[in-house]
Symmetry: C2
Subunit: 254 residues, 2 copies
Amino acid sequence: MNEFVRKIEAADNPWNPAEFEAALRAVGPERYHDLHPFHKLLHGGKLSKGQVAAWALNRYCYQEAIPRKDAAFMSRTHDRALRREWIHRIHDHDGTPPEEEGGIERWLVLTDCLGLDRDYVTGMKGALPATRFAVEAYVRFVVEQPLVVAAASSLTELFAPSIHRERIAGMLANYGFVNDDVMAYFKRRLSQAPRDATFALEFVKTYATTRELQDACVEAVRFKCNVLWAQLDALHHAYVVGLIPPGAYRPEGM
Amino acid sequence: MNEFVRKIEAADNPWNPAEFEAALRAVGPERYHDLHPFHKLLHGGKLSKGQVAAWALNRYCYQEAIPRKDAAFMSRTHDRALRREWIHRIHDHDGTPPEEEGGIERWLVLTDCLGLDRDYVTGMKGALPATRFAVEAYVRFVVEQPLVVAAASSLTELFAPSIHRERIAGMLANYGFVNDDVMAYFKRRLSQAPRDATFALEFVKTYATTRELQDACVEAVRFKCNVLWAQLDALHHAYVVGLIPPGAYRPEGM
């Protein structure tokens, strides 16, 4: 059966909602970054403070990109109700003045505790180029793909709570430089991520009406897993294998 | 001296052409990818055929992006003379019918000889996500940066002939599966790259008229070196360290 015939048949046979949801969820056990060896080291207390700092410094670039990604998403829809729902994601990360500081500020509490200068973190000059490339690929994906496919790329949040629980417990137990305040970002995400994932999952199931769009949505979750995995690959290569690229952050003694 | 004062002073003091050229050329010895351990392994005959295939498969993504990058550059200038000069870069890669096949076709001769299926190579599904992210970051850079800065990002070609000479000699001497025909891509680049680099260098020296633009041009060469370096980091991590990401090409026995 050639590719053309397969595509036509697929277009004629959309999955039912339960099958589609199962296909989306199946991507997690296949390639979500909880499977990456760097996370096992991080959560198991096997990293030095400098290695944890390298992780937090690089992951800042991802945090910093999320509100831009969500703004890009909102810029593409004429549906005011959708924008009114989606905007809370930006507030989650950028905060809501005056009292709520937001997730990026909570991330900076973590980098503070790891001894990193805030200007160095927010300037992103010491981050791995591969981190920036991966993160910007995610923003571009949301700018360029069909809206429902762009929404599907956020569905890695379906898999996030278990990794956050593991991280909070593992890092508190294993690192003397980590305390409850420092883990505030992840604790807050335990409630935020499921809310977002529930909404996005319903949205995707409603608007991905052809098998072709459904396939593209599953591929979007894979793409997003690749974005997350590539960030850990780069960290592992630089700070565990020890081949730090020119110009990138060097923890003391590395 | 604070950052603001430094910036104003820099803007008032552009480098003279010789100083500017020296600053651009100084990026090579600092971070061009001839310094990367993966290239030492590749040219020294230390890789298996499968590892060389992984390199060729991933590097195809870079080759494939170059004419898109050059088309993006041309799309941004109203200067017909500049487009008439620049277009030969697209012909170098895409070919000129009927007789000249171009660099991408020569690259596929290399992947053929390494036992890779052409559809698999050109479909790019087995390439490392990090490769695609880095390559697309380069295309975006050329779309988004000031035109002279975009041109400067091509100046890694100043450093290319020596790596190509080393590669041709090293791969011919060390790998039984490589012959002269297979190395045709690199032999052709020995004359193409200097022509392109000479033109781009003059263009950049002519139009980067402020110190701020000159600094951005030097930074563009660094950015491009990062694009090349990140590709080798990803290859090294996957195929030398051996942590191949989910879904990526697996040579036999790895």
